[in-house]
């Protein structure tokens, strides 16, 4: 190690930069970041605390373990759709048809599997392929004709809804067999307790493992490294929170497999966005399309990948919601599905303006959104009020996003 004082570390030679090494300094760094508009997960944390206090005061059932288990089942369906929304938002685009796409895919599963008697896997696969095809179509409209995604997907919203109604036919609703694996996956299948405890250890372990590896690599390369203390503290807190959550859920039914699938997809997408060339290109295109093009990035391919991913995930979300409801109906994917998926991503910290976002924003944002929706349902509020409140929450999220962006611009963090 070349840490002799005569030769400063590569990244420590400019004395103007404050290096936040101690815990107190790190806290200060965090406050600075928030002030400058880099809110990260803060709105989610605040939102969850407020929601828990308000709704549990109004109806104690809200925080009952089994209600939270139900909440997680609901999160998984729209959450998967929201993951796709994160992809298009990072590019500064939007897909307004994810709700209709999920409805169409749920209808396809019902028709192919129940009405036509094909294996369920065929139905699911066909729905996913249909999603990918719709994404390809949007990408072609955007890349070839320069059609704004806002317009193309707004048209898609109506067209896909029409297709959903068409294939469902006059009866309009297909019940899926309760005994099937798909419906059990969407309603009943719960992870064994021990497995949920083991899985809850993984994030903390991965954090420390990766931290140690990065640290040794950086020190070997004569770069400064984060102090281990802070990292271990973070990992311990995270693990404690997750294990406590598992304990609480296991007081009820436990952790749904469907939610685990959603989390796994979020982890996968997070890796792709932060640790691969594709992810880097996504943020580059979202930040400055022309600069990305001039760096040799195939911008069209990036747009195509995002639109295809978004529609395919919407289709998967549709399959999951069919499983959750044990039916394919005309109502699937309508109402607030679209807005919930978009609001979740934005509340979690993905910017509508492109170039900023994370897969975990969908994970945390959807928990906030579903908690509100679940709490309102427990209060026996009609959907009219629920829609108004959800709309208000989305508006607040967008306002926070805009203000944070303005602040970032003035603090040089665009």
């Amino acid at each position: 190690m070349s840490q002799n004082p005569s030769q400063p570390m590569l990244d420590r030679s400019d004395e103007r930069v404050r290096h936040d090494d101690s815990l107190a300094a790190m806290a200060k760094g965090f406050i600075d970041r928030v002030r400058s508009g880099d809110l990260g997960m803060l709105p989610v944390a605040v939102g969850l605390v407020v929601i828990s206090i308000v709704f549990s005061a109004l109806n104690p059932v809200f925080l009952a373990p089994n209600n939270l288990v139900n909440l997680l089942f609901d999160c998984a369906t729209v959450g998967v759709i929201s993951l796709g929304i994160v992809c298009v938002l990072v590019l500064g685009e939007i897909d307004l048809s994810v709700g209709s796409m999920s409805g169409l895919s749920s209808a396809m599963v019902g028709v192919l599997w129940v009405n036509m008697g094909l294996p369920v896997a065929v139905g699911i696969l066909a729905a996913l392929v249909a999603g990918a095809a719709v994404g390809l179509l949007y990408a072609a409209l955007y890349n070839r004709l320069g059609m704004p995604s806002f317009v193309a997907t707004l048209a898609g919203l109506l067209a896909l809804l029409g297709l959903q109604l068409y294939i469902l036919g006059p009866t309009g609703s297909i019940n899926l067999p309760y005994a099937s694996v798909l419906v059990r996956f969407g309603q009943i299948l719960i992870m064994p307790d021990w497995l949920s405890y083991v899985l809850a250890l993984l994030p903390g372990l991965a954090m420390v493992g990766r931290g140690l590896r990065t640290r040794s690599q950086r020190l070997a390369a004569n770069l400064s490294a984060q102090p281990m203390r802070a990292l271990i503290l973070k990992a311990v807190v995270l693990t404690a929170v997750l294990e406590a959550a598992m304990f609480y859920l296991n007081l009820g039914r436990g952790l749904p497999w469907m939610f685990a699938l959603f989390v796994a997809l979020a982890v996968l997408l997070n890796y792709a966005l932060t640790r691969t060339q594709w992810g880097r290109s996504m943020f580059a295109v979202g930040g400055n399309k022309e600069a990305a093009r001039r760096s040799g990035i195939n911008v069209r391919r990036i747009y195509t990948s995002a639109f295809v991913l978004c529609s395919t995930l919407a289709a998967l979300g549709g399959v999951l919601s069919a499983a959750r409801l044990a039916s394919s109906s005309q109502q699937a994917g309508t109402g607030d599905v679209n807005l919930n998926a978009i609001a979740a991503a934005v509340i979690g910290g993905t910017s509508l303006f492109g170039g900023r976002g994370s897969a975990y924003s969908a994970l945390l944002g959807i928990i906030v959104i579903q908690a509100i929706s679940n709490g309102l349902t427990l209060l026996n509020l009609s959907s009219s009020l629920r829609y108004m409140i959800t709309g208000g929450v989305l508006a607040i999220a967008v306002i926070v996003d805009s203000l944070a962006r303005r602040s970032r611009v003035s603090h040089g963090r665009a």
Binding site: L10, D11, D14, R16, V17, T214, Q217, R218, A221, N222, L223, R275, T276, Q277, W278, R280, S281, F283, A284, G286, G287, N288, E290, A291, A292, R293, R294, S295, G296, I297, N298, G355, R356, R408, V409, H411, G412, R413, A414
Partner: protein, 273 residues
Amino acid sequence: MTATLENAPAKGETVLRLRGVSKNFGAVSALTDIELEVKAGEVVALVGDNGAGKSTLVKVLAGVHQPSAGTIEFCGRQVTLDSPAKALDLGIATVFQDLALCENLDVVANLFLGHELSPWALDEVAMEVRAWTLLRELAARIPSVREPIASLSGGQRQTVAIARSLLLDPRLIMLDEPTAALGVAQTAEVLNLIERVRDRGLGVIIISHNMEDVRAVADRIVVLRLGKNNGVFTPDSSNQELVSAITGATDNSVSRRAERKSGHAQESHGGAA
């Protein structure tokens, strides 16, 4: 500097040759019948008034714009530069006048954009080390390579853009007003750098409005005027000659101003005497 260039053409060999290159934007002909030749180990300065078409020519060579007519030969082969990726792959690196950086990404990400190390599991440490090395060669004053570009000053951004052009071991580097925003030390460092890459056998095209810088490094000075070639000069040609080629008249505002100044000086001398 980094790796030696095995693929670099021998010194004196022609790297780039343009024949009759034209570019129209609708009714505007930004470039008409441009001829240009750059040899390995040669610095060609491209000068001209605002709007003369210099940046447009650079963008055509960078694959950003497609020429409306004409042929481009690179290292002896005729090429079509139909995308920036193609130009980069061939070994044409560009520092654009408008820099073309992604403000939301940090310095390291911008330097390696499109050419990240290990695409399936980004090697951040290796990229950061390489970034510091490159920036140090340019005497860059950049406090942290992990801050987004949005937080950098104009000159720091320019340094990042220049560093990026060196990353891929190009055979031809085009710098569009690279020193416009730079401090004294950084400008000198960029001029040194241009000499170093020339000595390594690269072709260099530099655009600048600063005649002093141009004379300091250029082997040839190519003048563009209203999108057309308007003469080729050597660095020792007189200022008068260059200015009149750039502005297109011997009687121009620059020479009038110079005369007025010297006239003033003589008058005041006379008065004092």
